[in-house]
C-alpha cells in the first residue's frame, strides 16, 4: 500500500514578472513504512512540494494540474478545514528550525497536550503519553521537561522534542524538511539514527528532504532527485547512488566532497546556474549545464524506466 502518491503535479506562482512554474510534472510514491529521500539544491522546488502536499501554498501559488493521493484521499480536492484536520495528525512535519514547530511562550507539556486534542484521554493520560514520547527521543528527565519552555533546551534537544511532537499521533507520513541541516555533524548523525529507530517503532513512512547526500544514503530506502522543479531521477538509494543515470545526479555525487577520498587540488563543480523558471526552456531543463548535451535534448525529455522502479528523465537514457 502506498501512503503518498504524487502524480504529474504542476505548481505555479503568479509573480509581477510573470507565471513561475515551480514544479513540473512531478511524480513519485512513498510506500508504507519506507523512508523516501528528496535530494536537491536551492531552487529545486523542495519547499514548494512540501507546501503543496500540506495545502500551505502561498496566496499567489496554485496547483495547476496533477494529483496528490494520501491514503484514500485526494489532497488537491480537500477543503482548508479538512487539510487542517490531517496536519499534525495523519501527516506531520519536522522543520529545519525546531522553532518552526515550538511555540516559545507555551511549556513543552502544554504544547504536547494540545496536539492530542482529538484523543479522548484525560489530561493525566495525555501527559503520560507525552512523557513516553519524550523518553523515546531520549530527552533526559522527561517529566520535568514537560514543565519547561523551549528556550531552556539546546538546539539538538529542541529538534528531538519537535520530532516527538510530530510523531505523537502516530501519523502515517512524517515529512522531515532538512531537519539536520542546522545541526553539527555529531548531532546530525545521532538525530538520523533516532529517526531511523523511531520510524521502525512507529511504523510510519518518512519523506526526508535534504541536500546532504551522505545522510540520504545512510537513512533512506528510496530517493528522488529534484532539479529546478522536476524529478530528474528516482529509485532505490542503491540504484541512484551506485548507478546514477541522469547527468545531474552523476555530477552531484561527484561534487560531494565526501566522495573524494583522496585530496584533490581541483574539486569538481557544476558550472552555470539554474535557468529562470519564468521562462522554462522547451527541452530538458538541465541541458544548459549538461556536459552530455545532445541535439535531442532540445525536446522535452521522457520519463524513462530503467527497470525495477528506477526512473530517469533523460533522453540519453533511452539510447543506452
Amino acid at each position: 500500500m502506498t501512503v503518498l502518491v504524487i502524480q504529474d503535479l504542476n505548481v505555479s506562482f503568479s509573480t509581477e514578472d510573470g507565471e513561475l512554474l515551480a514544479l513540473k510534472d512531478v511524480s513519485f510514491e512513498v510506500p508504507e513504512q519506507r523512508i523516501v529521500g528528496i535530494v536537491g539544491e536551492s531552487g529545486c522546488g523542495k519547499s514548494t512540494l512540501i507546501n503543496a502536499i500540506l495545502g500551505l501554498l502561498a496566496d499567489n501559488g496554485r496547483i495547476c494540474s496533477g494529483s496528490i493521493g494520501f491514503e484514500e484521499a485526494e489532497l488537491t480536492t480537500l477543503s482548508a478545514t479538512e487539510m487542517q484536520a490531517l496536519r499534525g495528525q495523519r501527516i506531520s512535519t519536522v522543520f529545519q528550525d525546531p522553532m518552526g514547530a515550538l511555540n516559545p511562550v507555551l511549556s513543552v507539556g502544554r504544547q504536547m497536550r494540545n496536539i492530542q486534542y482529538r484523543s479522548k484521554l484525560t489530561r493525566a493520560e495525555k501527559d503520560a503519553h507525552s512523557v513516553e514520547m519524550l523518553r523515546l527521543v531520549r530527552i533526559p528527565d522527561a517529566e520535568a521537561a514537560l514543565k519547561r519552555y523551549p528556550h531552556q533546551f539546546s538546539g539538538g534537544m529542541k529538534q528531538r522534542i519537535a520530532i516527538a511532537m510530530a510523531l505523537m499521533m502516530k501519523p502515517a507520513l512524517l515529512i522531515a524538511d532538512e531537519p539536520t541541516t542546522a545541526l553539527d555533524a555529531t548531532l546530525e548523525v545521532a538525530t538520523i539514527e533516532l529517526l531511523r529507530d523511531l520510524q521502525q517503532q512507529i511504523g510510519c513512512s518518512v519523506l526526508f528532504i535534504s541536500h546532504h547526500l551522505g545522510v540520504i544514503a545512510e537513512l533512506c530506502d528510496d530517493v528522488v532527485v529534484m532539479y529546478a522543479g522536476e524529478v530528474v531521477e528516482r529509485g532505490t538509494t542503491r540504484q541512484v547512488f551506485n548507478a546514477p543515470t541522469h547527468p545531474y545526479t552523476a555530477r552531484l555525487l561527484e561534487c560531494d566532497p565526501a566522495r573524494q577520498t583522496e585530496r584533490k587540488r581541483e574539486l569538481p563543480t557544476i558550472p552555470g546556474e539554474i535557468p529562470d523558471l519564468r521562462q522554462r526552456p522547451a527541452g530538458c531543463i538541465f541541458a544548459s549545464r549538461c556536459d552530455q548535451r545532445a541535439e535531442a535534448c532540445a525536446a522535452p525529455p521522457p520519463d524513462f524506466a530503467l527497470g525495477d522502479g528506477h526512473f530517469v528523465r533523460c533522453v540519453l537514457a533511452e539510447a543506452t
Binding site: S14, T15, E16, D17, A58
Partner: protein, 277 residues
Amino acid sequence: MRSLRRILSEPLGAFGIALVVLMVGGAIFADQLSAFDPTRISPRDRFLPPSAEHLLGTDQLGRDLFSRVLHGGRIALSVAQFSTAVSLVVGIMLGLIAGYGPRWLDNLMLLLFDSIKSFPTVMLALALVTLFGPSLTSVVIVVVLVNIPGYARIIRTQTLTLKAAEFVTAAQSMGASTARILRFHIMPNVIGPLLILASMDIPVVIAIEAGMSFLGLGVRPPTPSWGAILNDGFTAIRDTPWIAVAGGLPIILTTLGFTFLGETLRDVFDPRLKRRG
C-alpha cells in the same frame, strides 16, 4: 516608475495623488489662480456667500476666501516641508548616534526623547509662544520638536538591529571608521521606511500649524492660514458657514490626500506582501 504605476493602480493611491497634486498645485500657483489680493480688505463686500466672482465667498473683512485659501496653502505646505526636513535630518542623526554609540549615550538620549514626547503638544506650543511670540517660527519649532523623538527612535531601533549585521562587521574588519559605517552602511538601510512615515506625518504637521493658528498662537493676521480662516469662521458659523468651510475643507482634503498616498506608498514598498501578477 514601476512604483508610480503601482501607486496609481490602487484606487486610494490614485485618489491620494490627485488630491495632493490639487493642493500643491493650488499653493504653487496661488498668485496666478487668485482673482483678488488675499489681504485686501473691502468692507462693502463683507460676508458675501460663494458666487462666481468669489468662489468661496468673503469673510468678515470682505477678503476673498478663495484667494486666502490658496495662499494659506503656501503657508501650510512650506511649514510642512521645512519642518519635516529639519526633523528628519536631526532625528536621523540623533537616532544613528543613539543606536550605534555606547550604551550610556543611548540611555541618555532615550531619556531626552521621552521627556520631550511627554509634553502635550499644546502646552509645548504655549511655552514656546511665550518665549518667541506667536509666529511661523514658533510653529516650526513646535512641529520639529514634536517629530524628532519619534523619528529618532525609529532610526535608533533599526540601527541597533543593523549594528549586529554581518556586513557591518565586515566593514569593521576592513578598518572602516564609525563615520563611514554610519554613513554608507547603516543610514542607507534605515531611512527608507522613515521617509514613508514622514510623508504620512505631513497631515499632522499641517494640523499642528492650523491648530496653533486657530488658537492664535501661530501666524499673525492678516497672513492667511487655514487655521486662522477656520478661527474667523468659527464665531460666525451660524449665519455665514462658508467661512468655516473655506478654512476646514482644505485641511481635510490635504490630510486625506497625504494619508491615502502614504498608506499606498507603504503597501507598495512593503517587501513582505506578495504581489499578484
